[in-house]
């Protein structure tokens, strides 16, 4: 090298010579980028948008009531209440007979005898 001008030319030539990454390296870098990246907000919202409508209303309701277990308990209590309201009382007579035996005396007391006249039909 005779002078700095040649060195400058050599360095300028080096600066103008690009170092091209191999396709394999680029693929590795992009794979890392994908692995580290959070999805777009639009993509994150896609799932909820797909549930728009009745199903979304149901899932929101379930979440509002405290989740699946709470809703299951509430449903069971509802069904039990409905059964007790609709079922024929005859079905319960065996149970009540068992609980109140025949030997039990039930005293009938007239707490307001003076009003009997009001109920008498003439």
């Amino acid at each position: 090298m005779d002078n700095d001008l040649d060195l400058d030319a050599l360095l300028a030539e080096a600066a103008a010579t690009p170092t091209k990454p191999s396709e394999a390296l680029s693929a590795r870098i992009l794979a890392d980028a994908t692995a580290m990246q959070r999805p777009l907000p639009a993509q994150r919202g896609t799932a909820s948008r797909k549930r728009f409508g009745l199903w979304r209303w149901v899932t929101d309701l379930v979440a509002g009531l405290g989740g699946g277990p709470a809703v299951a308990g509430l449903s069971l209590a509802g069904v039990a209440g409905l059964f007790l309201g609709v079922a024929d009382p005859v079905a319960l007579q065996s149970i009540t007979a068992l609980l109140s035996s025949d030997t039990t005396m039930v005293a009938r007391m007239d707490l307001l005898p003076a009003t009997d006249i009001l109920w008498t039909e003439n």
Partner: protein, 202 residues
């Protein structure tokens, strides 16, 4: 966002887009930054495989820091050069503890264009330059490569190397003088005479 649109967007904006989940931003940033990172790492390490590993690691750190990147505090390229400098320093320290890389292992730098003969001569020149750079002390090599090959300004180099601007100027000047001394008398080896002969023949 379409790639054509992103080509003119700044590195910082691209990084914000990447952090917000834009898949195209990562591709544009990789295409824009990885050649510079790889070129710098190759100049410092003189080992293509190690330079590729450093490039992947530096880019991985960029992806990792993207959500916390504080806009306006530093240029992304400056931050990357600093990461690469530190990674290369670590690698060279580890390399000193094991058998070294032979001078002949210096990478053959691909020529960019031109005729086959001139391309070969250019590749020879780049290889000769690399071997000369390898003989410089680490800090001088970093300063010379950043200033004269990567084309950075001294204040930016000072940030990358964690030095004052005057120290960078001194390192660059000493490095360049040492490089000239190493290459002295090798004009023919560098192919400049052959280039002249080829031009005359054409």
């Amino acid at each position: 966002m379409p790639r054509d649109t992103l080509d003119e967007v700044s590195d910082e904006t691209l990084l914000v887009l990447y952090a917000n989940g834009d898949p195209v931003a990562a591709r544009v940033l990789t295409a824009r930054l990885s050649p510079r990172v790889l070129g710098y790492a190759t100049r410092l390490l003189a080992d293509r495989a190690e330079a590729e590993d450093v490039t992947q690691e530096a880019m991985l750190r960029l992806w990792r820091i993207a959500p916390q990147w504080r806009t306006g505090e530093a240029k992304i390229s400056t931050w990357l050069y600093r990461v690469v400098t530190n990674l290369c320093n670590d690698l060279k320290r580890a390399r000193r503890r094991r058998p070294g890389v032979a001078l002949d292992d210096a990478p053959e730098v691909a020529a960019s264009s031109g005729s086959a003969v001139s391309s070969l001569m250019q590749a020879d020149r780049m290889t000769a330059l690399q071997r000369a750079l390898d003989q410089l002390p680490d800090r001088q090599r970093q300063a010379v490569v950043l200033r004269h090959i990567e084309g950075l300004a001294n204040p930016e180099i000072a940030q990358i190397m964690d030095l004052g601007v005057e120290a960078v100027e001194s390192l660059t000047a000493r490095g360049k003088r040492a490089l000239a001394a190493i290459l002295a008398g090798r004009k023919a080896d560098l192919g400049y005479d052959d280039d002249a002969e080829e031009r005359e023949a054409v």
